[in-house]
């Protein structure tokens, strides 16, 4: 996994609440393999008309937010389906951080697995960032994961919380399967006891 330490990028404002993973990547593309890439279909139906022409009004199609690497979003971003392709599409497009008042639970977990940092800030602080970005003058945001800070347009600084274990994995770009397998002995001992306590779970075969 690509490590995440800091990021200085253009941020695009998407203040609509409940942007679900069906909007981030519609289900009709999910048969694709991760290796095929998903970035070209990110926000497909919001970004493009049915005939494939870009919708000018959509935030990522506006010149001010070209090459956005950060999205500032409304509450409950990434709610809905567990499809990890929502995260693949964002990161494939070049988005490596989303800031929102709250996230869909599974999207939030999936993000960390793909080197994308989801940051929760209080609703009023997200509203302030959205308002600043809407002005299209200064649209850059700087993230420092080690220090856990977001530096917004005009130099506003917000501190954010992040689970220490996930922070460590992101900073080191560590694969968590390899990390977990360091605990094989404990896992095996636990399983022996678990299987003994619930013998009815044994499946003949």
């Amino acid at each position: 996994m690509k490590p995440f330490r800091s990021l200085d990028a253009v941020a695009a404002p998407m203040g609509t609440p409940n942007i679900d993973t069906d909007q981030i990547i519609p289900a009709r593309y999910l048969w694709r393999s991760k290796a095929d890439g998903y970035g070209m279909h990110l926000f497909q139906d919001l970004r493009f008309a049915a005939d494939g022409t870009p919708r000018e009004e959509f935030v990522l199609n506006q010149p001010a937010y070209a090459n956005a690497g950060i999205i500032v979003a409304g509450r409950n971003f990434g709610c809905g389906s567990s499809r990890e392709a929502a995260v693949w599409a964002l990161s494939d497009y070049g988005v490596r951080c989303v800031i929102a008042p709250s996230f869909g639970d599974i999207f939030y977990n999936n993000s960390f697995k793909n080197g994308l940092l989801p940051i929760v800030l209080p609703p009023e602080r997200v509203a302030a960032l959205l308002a600043a970005l809407d002005r299209k003058q200064d649209v850059r945001i700087e993230i420092d994961l080690q220090a856990q800070t977001v530096t917004g347009p005009g130099g506003t600084v917000d501190h954010f919380e992040v689970d220490p274990f996930r922070k460590q994995l992101l900073l080191e770009g560590m694969d968590d399967i390899a990390f977990t397998l360091r605990h094989t002995e404990q896992m095996a001992a636990f399983e022996t006891e678990y299987d003994r306590a619930a013998p009815w779970l044994a499946v003949p075969g």
Partner: protein, 469 residues
């Protein structure tokens, strides 16, 4: 110390907890489906094997066809090669790993969240995961069950564990008697309307109270199924005699002396009387009427007796989003929902594809005629067979409903069963998101009885007028 149902299952599966709070959890049982090929690829790329094939179960649901060209459905009915390959890949990956697989030619095939409980794979006290957001369904039998992403599926396949920080707990007490014609689907839609689509974020919900206790095991599944639509990690109901009666005799449920031993353990699971929840919510069951959604989030649910809300009367910060939703849905502020014209009906999904759902829909369809296209997609091959044994397929066919094979179908449209752009759909599924049932599709979430009522009248109709309830 008094503990909740959730606390007890969490503790039983915690292998170790790091000083920073991250807990390595053992996974009791893992369910996989035809959207899992990336996870198996990750495993193969890293030279890893499936750690506990005996605790892993698979079925194909998202990409399967729900129609058959010949006498029986086969892989060939999946017209698009890329989709067919995903169903084939599941068969190959599970065969190689020694995982039990209910494939297309197996009567036990179906939507993974229908199959788990139906087979008795789902049991009280288990920590269960699946690479699908509706995994909380299994919580209805007293399991702690939640959806995970593809990377986490690979992690569980390789290690039979998952890293988690402990979520907060929420108890939603639904008390009072449900009125005639009000179903489990109406209960969960009313709950989500009350607490919001992010109301359960960061929480595991325990549904409690007399109205939940009086629901059947299948009704509880409908409620738990949509926990994710309230933002929650999981939803669960304490196991009781209803749970045990449901599980008894199912293929993977314990038998004989082991059954007695299991039930004794399961009876220890319910929340202790003095246990404390981080959040408490109470819902008045007597006030719930049949529900219908008007917008593009499950929280946009109102009673069928209600009206499309008016953005001008909403808080200023919500107006623009509401106008966009009404524009997408083609609805007028203040319009009565009862009477809105519907273009097609979908009855099925992991929310409402069980036998009781089909019985409820058939009771409305019996002796009537569908006036718009309507399809019934049973949740599993066994649900389909049971319905046919009860003659429900005849009721639906005589009423002009299509009778399909089991799969996720039009809930998510990944198999090609979609709603046309601009069409209004009365759907028993779980999500009314923009484009969920196909680009431009206008989805309204309702109960199976309400969906059948819409099919026969061509409009949203308070089902209680048809059934005298």
């Amino acid at each position: 110390m008094p503990a909740t149902l959730f606390d007890k299952i969490w503790a039983k599966h915690a292998i170790l907890t790091r000083p920073d709070g991250a807990t390595l959890l053992h996974v009791g049982r893992h369910l996989v489906h035809d959207g899992s090929s990336q996870a198996f690829r990750t495993l193969a790329d890293q030279g890893l094997t499936v750690r506990r094939p005996d605790r892993t179960f698979a079925t194909a649901d998202h990409y399967v066809a729900t129609t058959a060209q010949g006498g029986a459905r086969s892989l060939d009915d999946i017209a698009v090669p890329e989709r067919r390959h995903l169903v084939e890949a599941l068969a190959a990956n599970t065969a190689k790993a020694g995982i039990a697989h209910f494939g297309l030619n197996d009567l036990r095939q179906g939507i993974v969240h229908i199959v788990g409980p139906e087979q008795g794979i789902t049991q009280p006290g288990l920590l269960m995961v699946c690479g699908d957001s509706h995994t909380a369904t299994h919580g209805a039998l007293g399991a702690l069950a939640f959806g995970i992403g593809s990377s986490e599926v690979a992690h569980v396949l390789a290690t039979q564990t998952l890293w988690q920080s402990k979520p907060r707990s929420m108890r939603i007490s639904v008390d009072g008697r449900l009125a005639e014609g009000v179903t489990a689907k109406d209960v969960i839609l009313a709950i989500i309307a009350q607490i919001g689509a992010a109301g359960g974020t960061g929480h595991v919900i325990e549904y409690a109270g007399s109205a939940i206790r009086s629901l059947s095991a299948e009704g509880r599944m409908t409620v738990c199924n949509m926990s994710i639509e309230a933002g929650a990690r999981a939803g669960m109901v304490a196991p009781d005699e209803t749970t045990f009666a449901y599980l008894s005799g199912r293929p993977y449920a314990p038998k004989g002396a082991l059954w007695d031993k299991a039930v004794a353990a399961w009876k220890e699971l319910p929340t202790d009387p003095d246990a404390v929840f981080d959040t408490e919510v109470s819902v008045d069951a007597t006030a719930i009427v049949p529900m219908v959604t008007w917008g593009t989030s499950p929280e946009d649910a109102v009673p069928i007796t209600g009206r499309v809300p008016d953005p001008d009367r909403a808080p200023a910060e919500r107006r623009e989003a509401m106008r966009r939703k009404l524009d997408y849905m083609g609805l007028t502020p203040g319009e009565a929902l009862d009477g809105v014209k519907v273009d097609r009906v979908f009855i099925g999904s992991c929310t409402n594809g069980r036998i009781e759902d089909l019985r409820a829909a058939a009771a409305v369809a019996r002796g009537r005629k569908a006036t718009i296209p309507a399809m019934v997609v049973p949740g599993s091959g066994l649900v389909r067979a049971q319905a046919e044994a009860e003659g429900l397929d005849r009721v639906f066919r005589d009423a002009g409903f299509e009778w399909r094979y089991a799969g996720c179908s039009m809930c998510v449209g990944m198999n090609g069963d979609t709603v046309a752009p601009g069409q209004r759909s009365a759907s028993t599924s779980n999500r009314n998101f923009v484009g969920r049932q196909g680009p431009g599709a206008r989805t309204h979430l309702v109960s199976p009885a309400m969906a059948a009522a819409a099919a026969v009248t061509g409009r949203f109709t308070d089902v209680r007028r048809l059934t005298g309830g």
